[in-house]
Amino acid sequence: MTARLLETNKDPLKKIDVDGVTVDIIENALRNAREEMDAVLFRTAMSPGIREQGDCFPMIANKDGKMVVGQFGSFIGPFLEAYNDEIEEGDIILTNDPYMCNAAVSHLPDWVVLVPVFKEGRHIAWSAMFGHMSDNGGMVPGSIPIEATTIFQEGIRIPPTKLYKKGVLQSDLLELILHNVRTPQWNRFDLNALVAACNTAAKRCVELAERFGDDVLFSTMDIMLQRNYDAMKHIIGMFIPEEPREFEDYLCDDGMGMGPYKIKCTMWREGEKAIFDFAGTDPQAQSSVNFFLNEDMFKMFFGSFTINVVDPQIVFNDGFYDLVDVRIPQGTLLKPNYPAALSGRTHALGRIFDVLGALLGMGAPEMMLNAAGFSDSPHLFFSGYDSRPGKGNEWFQLFQIGFGGVPGRPVGDGPDGHSLWPGFTNVPNEFIESYFPLRIERYETIADSGGAGLHRGGNGLSVAYRFLCDGDIGIHDERWLTYPWGVLGGETGLRSTKRLVRVDGSEEWLPAKAEGIKVKTGDMLYFNTWGGGGWGDPFARDPELVRQDINRRLVTVEGAKRYGVVMAADGSVDSGATETLRAELKAAAGEPALFNFGGDIEDIRSRCEAETNLPAPVKPTFIGLSQ
């Protein structure tokens, strides 16, 4: 069954001719409306995750649910197919369950709000937005339990449900939902903000229809979709070879002792159609690191990576979906069988971008191939009762996202300690210190962590958290085992580490994925993220740039030798010694491969314990394989 939209005005919208300038004007206006959604959300949301980090995504879709403006593609189509009920004016739908909307959202903490836009009794468009809630109930604070084996352990599941019916808030339902989360006040505000943002967009759509006419708006949305279709057709013909091209990368581990998990993708073109086939990807994981990947969402990733080349001002949308075929085998890490756990999907989601970047770039590496970068958003959770004087043992929970090195790129060095996700920013440390029982004693880039190259990889970040009361921490991180790879002779970046220094001076290395770790007042955690891979021949880098990086504490004197650069005692470049060392290293290195993975998987696994102080994960045995 599918959703049925009730319209009191049955007059169908008509497809009519619209002149180009009007299309451009409406395109601008819709782009503004989308930006306004973000603005409304940021101002009204309350949790640091949404407000400061911008972990939220808006869109406006045509009446069929095709995204006209937005970012991560439309989740309305799959929802409409799965929702077996009537929808009328004033209804607002809420859901968070990936299994109920074909992974339109990919884990439970992402709550999505959908608003059908009506004008004079006629359904003319959709607005929708999802945001990452601070908590969704379930096993652990923050609701991203690593060790969950089914989705039932990950908190409350909200099937597509009417939060508002004909404009009336279903408060019993809302209270029931909020009763099941640890941060009801934040979620209430954030949800309010999502609704306000969607309502704003709805209002703008109605205003546009009033200004230009319903049929003009309706037809313009189609034209905007067609523009993307035309642009992407050209791009696919230009960038996608008929000869299949494949790439594989890995998720380091599943947090329960198994890993790494392979993600493999093969790409080719048949006529004007691009095909991405994930055959060869490992079967689903036992824990929550599965990433239920919606095919349309992957198309969006692909499109947004490439469309800038032809018209950076285009309003990017769904229009080209028919030109792309995405094949994901059932029962794999990317399409696990119900009721597999999904909450820790962030790592595989990030890795998809490494894979996609490599596939698209390897045909013209000098122009288009970036090294592997900070393809993740690692988390730190800290929760407990604030036992400091005057704090009344109040419950707190902190959710922090980490940042790392952007890779070396054709355009230049990768920035240090930055984010690859659009719109993400760190939460100011002064804000955290004033609201949570911890002190951030150091917040600095890690010298030499970016891979050496003609264009240096960005450095990772080292954040030193001093805990000011007892509590529990949880960590989700990646690239502690496999390397952020370099390209075209560039070196790998430094991997991530987590070191806990107890107040008694003892030290322990924590796994990249761990939860329920008890910390005491005065303990210090060094949360070190990874650096970006290097791009191009490090021995060709101008020694003066290396010297400048040393003066900036981004590279050490020892680290400069990876570039074959030798420093004299007075801080200048020793040109003679540099020339000699470069010749030596060059001869030893030989002709570089296109990709530098830092060794093959068996190699890396065998060196694991010695290098990382952590036991190597064992080869996965696949529980999901039997289906």
């Binding site: 180009g20 300038v21 451009d24 004007i25 601008n28 206006a29 503004n32 603005a39 009204t44 309350m46 407000r51 970012q71 991560f72 006040q185 934040w186 505000f189 309010n192 306000a196 309502n199 523009r227 642009a231 050209h234 969006m300 947004s304 990576f305 032809v310 018209d311 001002q313 990017f316 970068g373 940042f403 952007v406 790129r409 355009v411 920035p415 240090d416 300690g417 930055h418 984010s419 690859l420 996700w421 993400f424 920013t425 100011p428 440390n429 002064e430 804000f431 210190e433 004033s434 002190r439 004693e441 150091r442 917040y443 600095e444 880039t445 030193a464 400048q548 900036r552 504490r553 981004l554």
Partner: protein, 689 residues
């Protein structure tokens, strides 16, 4: 006789306005700006205006000045080499820059980070720590700091020094001590500390703001002191030099040289002040301003003749926490270039601009790409066959050739392409106007729209149609309005402190006592500048939010209002504004973040000026017949002389009104009337369409 002089230094021209305070008579002058040292242009202008008007320079008692000297230092990257002292462990705060990569998904692929304004090689860490509650966690290691500062000094590179420590917004003791130590070593280098410049939470924003202050400080200081010396020389040492700040207040030259980060929006603030000056006297207290220049357009919303002040200033990529008039800028101006991407065949206008060089095609200075200005020429809005006072020659053929390239790429005719360019650029200004109105919960129909700047009056009527904000007001001298603004604002200063107090825990008496303390501090600068306390007007501000929100709203109030309603005055007003912005409010949880006292010198009024040439009939004001193209048709339109148009005359559209520095278009179906102040008020014929 007592005169005041307004001086606005823009990128191309320096505008001057001399006002006789007793009669209201004005004289204007326009001279080329001298970017290498703007004070030369200012002095040239003063010489010119005094010469032409026959006013004795010694009779000018006050010089009020809007300047882009700080802005240009940022835009051209010509600021000082800044050294930075942070808390140890936080040296990379600017390098990490909150980890933000602009652009959408994949935006990082092409993101190129600009060099830091305080380079890492000139950044050192001090061993010290203040906790979030303001307590000292670790004392300042003075010995080590001294050593490191000496090393830094030894590089010989630091031209301005910045100190910004973690949590200094709540306790600046370590910063102050570090500044004392630094002053012993950096004896002749200006030192800025964050707890003075911007005592607000958020380490990156506070560091960046303080660094920007240092970055522009030497240049601003030398400019101000040179100018003051030259003025003293020419006009006598009792001449008061004031500078317009970004927030629309005037500051003494001395005060502004110490915190130049507050002058980055001095130029746009002058325009807004000028617009308020003319509109409020015509009875329009609620206005939308639209200041359209060559490369960009600044818009702002004014309520009750008061500009909204935002505690953020943005100049190109630089974003600082300094108060400025809430002006939004879009990259759409007369020089914006139109183009058609091959694949999508869409018509795009800007943000690339032809600038002054090579300029629009019509000026024949080497520009060949079609600009908004060229579209205006093709459509006849900018007449090419009539020489208007002071204008450069306009070559319509060059504009036609340029716009034709767009027409051909889109497969449409020339006139449709020209109208398309104008519509697109109007739409993007409309977007900015919506941003300051609709998106803030205001209905533009409750406002009048003011068009000024070189290109604003060309587009204002069309923007009125889009926003439905009537009348559309073209103030006198729309091209020199900033100088009017400079000449008509008041000297002001403010004192602020971080409060971080829940409104529910606060008594009325406590709040009044805390505000009085700030009031005393705010008045100090005015006293120093010889403005007696009896001339001070004191108002207060409080920044509120619901605890946990990052958003905040600034509430303005007076002591009388506070005494009448108590703390509820703040919370009620906040709830009201919050509901207007976001459609909901909460009942409690109000947190007061900052409180502020603003001291203003009472305004000295200026007599009204004479409008146009009395007795001239409408026919006598016609310069020449012309024609323009609108919505698919050609219309005959007379060109009128603005300098002759006097109060009460009505110019019916289609018509063009020309004056020295600007051209106003009155569209068919609209009528422009000259009011008592000299504004052109454009309204739909019969009050509506």
């Amino acid at each position: 006789m007592s005169y005041r002089l307004g001086v606005d230094v823009g990128g191309t021209f320096t505008d001057l306005l001399l006002i006789n305070e007793d009669t209201g008579d004005t004289h204007t002058a326009k001279v080329p700006s001298t970017p290498e040292d703007s004070s030369i242009g200012v002095l040239n202008g003063i010489a010119r205006i005094c010469d032409e008007s026959g006013v004795n320079p010694a009779d000018v008692s006050r010089v009020m000045h809007g300047t882009t000297v700080a802005t240009n230092a940022v835009l051209t990257g010509r600021g000082a080499k800044v050294g930075l002292v942070t808390t140890a462990g936080y040296e990379d705060t600017l390098q990490v820059a909150r980890s933000f990569c602009p652009g959408g998904l994949g935006g990082w692929v092409s993101f190129v980070k600009k060099p830091l304004l305080a380079p890492l090689e000139l950044t050192i860490g001090a061993h010290e720590r203040i906790g979030a509650d303001g307590e000292v966690v670790a004392g300042l290691d003075e010995e080590q700091l001294r050593t490191d500062l000496k090393t830094l000094h030894g590089t010989g590179q630091v031209e301005a020094l910045t100190i910004c420590f973690i949590n200094a917004y709540i306790n600046g003791a370590h910063e102050k001590r570090a500044a004392e130590i630094a002053a012993e070593i950096f004896t002749d280098t200006p030192i800025s500390i964050s707890s003075d410049v911007v005592p607000e939470m958020q380490e990156y924003e506070r560091t960046e703001t303080t660094v920007v202050n240092s970055y522009v400080r030497p240049e601003v200081a030398s400019y101000v002191s040179n100018l003051q010396a030259a003025l003293d020389d020419k006009m006598g040492s009792d001449t008061q030099l004031s500078i317009l700040r970004s927030d629309g207040g005037l500051a003494s030259a001395r005060a502004s040289a110490e915190s130049p980060v507050n002058m980055l929006m001095s130029g746009p603030a002058g325009g807004v002040s000028g617009a308020i000056y003319f509109c409020s006297r015509a009875g329009y207290d609620n206005i939308l301003t639209c200041d359209m220049g060559g490369t960009s357009t600044d818009v702002a919303l004014i309520q009750n003749s008061r500009a909204r002040v935002r505690r953020e200033t943005i100049v190109a990529d630089v974003r600082v926490r300094a108060p400025s008039v809430d002006v939004r800028t879009v990259g759409a101006g007369g020089g914006s270039i139109a183009f058609v991407p091959e694949l999508t065949k869409a018509l795009r206008v800007g943000p690339e601009s032809a600038g002054a060089v090579p300029g629009p095609a019509c000026y024949m200075k080497g520009g060949e790409q079609p600009t908004v200005c060229d579209a205006n020429v093709v459509l006849g809005y900018l007449p090419s066959d009539v020489q208007l006072g002071g204008k450069m020659d306009i070559n319509r053929e060059a504009s036609v050739a340029a716009v034709q390239s767009v027409a051909d790429a889109m497969g449409i005719d020339l006139m449709a392409a020209a109208e398309g360019i104008i519509k697109i650029v109007n739409e993007s200004m409309f977007g900015a106007l919506r941003l300051v109105s609709v998106e803030q919960g205001y209905d533009p129909r409750d406002f009048a729209l003011v068009g000024f700047g070189g290109a604003g009056p060309l587009h204002a009527n069309a923007l009125g149609i889009l926003t439905d904000a009537w009348p559309v007001i073209i103030p006198p001298g729309p091209g020199v309005l900033c100088a009017y603004g400079d000449a008509t604002t008041q000297v002001q200063d403010e004192a602020a402190r971080t409060y971080l107090t829940m409104a529910g825990d606060l008594t009325d008496n406590q709040l009044v006592a805390d505000l009085h303390e700030l009031k005393a501090r705010a008045g100090e600068a005015l006293l120093t500048d010889n403005i007696p306390a009896s001339e001070h007007e004191i108002t207060y501000q409080a920044d509120l939010r619901y605890a946990g929100q990052a958003f905040q709203i600034t509430i303005d109030f007076t002591e009388d209002e506070l005494k009448e309603k108590g703390v509820a005055l703040l919370t009620d007003q906040f709830d009201g504004e919050h509901e207007q912005l976001f459609t909901f409010k909460l009942d409690d949880g109000h947190e007061i973040l900052m409180i502020r006292a603003v001291a203003k010198a009472r305004a000295k009024s200026i007599a009204e000026r004479q409008v146009g040439e009395t007795g001239m009939s409408l026919e006598q004001c016609i310069i020449a017949p012309s024609r323009f193209y609108y919505e698919g048709d050609w219309y005959d339109a007379n060109i009128y002389d603005r300098n002759k148009l006097n109060t009460g005359l009505q110019v019916s559209g289609p018509a063009i009104v020309g004056e020295m520095d600007s051209t106003t278009v009155v569209l068919p179906g609209f009528v422009a009337e000259v009011d008592a102040v000299g504004n052109l008020l454009i309204n739909p014929v019969n009050g509506g369409q």
